[in-house]
Subunit: 211 residues, 2 copies
């Protein structure tokens, strides 16, 4: 076999593998990110959140402390706080959760909370009202830089992801976010998880072709 032929075959195999990129999916339940001001108000000045378990993204963790979300129509109890603290508080719920609260919730990329609805957060008798920050998280894929290179993905790229299950579907408009600090996982919420027959370990196949 000549070198050129070998090179062509290797390139073709790499191309095929890139075209069939499977990513592990995680479903995110409702959760809050709190800033220093919110932690002070809910738990006392200078309070430090207690790590309960690490999440798949390095440095991110679920806390022992829980809060209640209070909307005009109803409340959601025992809502997990994800650490570490952030510059801006943010509350992520599904549309199903939003129906319980009685607040229509927009789909937003994490951190893009301008103009989103506010919500009341309570811990025991302590209560704060966020003026904004209630969102349904836009589905996205965290991609570690070396995986991005391997799979031919770039930061900010929009892809489709096919989920094979007893309720197969293809998620459209999935945002790719690349960082050396990420582990490679796709994140969806529980409405999306329920709609696609998600179980722990479900993988999605990245499709770069639009249909």
């Amino acid at each position: 076999m000549d070198n050129q032929l070998l090179e062509n075959i290797v390139n073709e195999v790499i191309k095929r593998v890139q075209e069939e990129t499977y990513i592990e999916i995680e479903a995110s339940g409702k959760h809050v990110h709190l800033n220093r001001e919110a932690i002070d108000a809910l738990f006392g000045t200078g309070y430090q959140l207690t790590k309960a378990r690490d999440l798949s993204q390095p440095g991110q963790y679920a806390c022992k402390e829980r809060v209640t979300l209070i909307g005009p129509k109803g409340s959601l109890h025992n809502v997990v706080i994800l650490g570490p603290e952030r510059k801006e508080s943010q509350v992520e719920v599904s549309h199903s959760d939003a129906v319980v609260l009685g607040v229509p919730v927009p789909v937003r990329e994490s951190g893009k909370v301008d103009g989103t609805p506010g919500i009341v957060i309570a811990s025991g008798s302590h209560m704060i009202r966020l003026d904004q920050g209630l969102i349904a998280a836009q589905r996205h894929i965290h991609v570690k830089t070396e995986d991005a290179e391997k799979y031919g993905l770039v930061n900010g790229e929009i892809v489709q992801v096919k989920v094979m299950s007893n309720r197969s579907l293809i998620f459209d408009d999935v945002m790719v976010r690349v960082s050396p600090n990420y582990e490679t996982y796709m994140h969806i919420d529980y409405d999306e998880a329920n709609a696609c027959g998600f179980v722990k370990g479900t993988k999605g196949k990245i499709l770069k072709k639009s249909i």
Copy 2:
């Protein structure tokens, strides 16, 4: 322009239109279908359900009467009954509803309830226990026979349906059901509706090509 060319153009346009078939989508909330035995037990022997409003499918209607579903973990109140009565009782909920009840629910085609979980249904102090019949409905399209001919769809066919929205996705494995007694609508549940950014009037484009 010669006749053959005209014919070719017309055929090509028809083909393209068929390939771009848009169907109105409806989201179904949790509901129950009751048989005579269940109606007798819940509302009294010989009781006739009261029509509250017609549904999109001819002859189908929502009833004034409501029931409570009782699971091992929780209850769902004010659940609508859809008429007319059926040979077999069936309860359709979303996975989100199933979490409240505390019963894992399988995705099934309507009517195919063999081996599905049971559930308790209550109306006031009257209560029955179905041995089976709790399902999450498999997404499907009701197609009127004349539309099926127009769109080139056949009964039992599996298609994909693309939904354009702020949460676009392509539903895979969508069952086509054709009948002269149907009006043409796609039915999904509220998990699926939330996952695809559904609002009243949302349409889906039928794709016959598999990806």
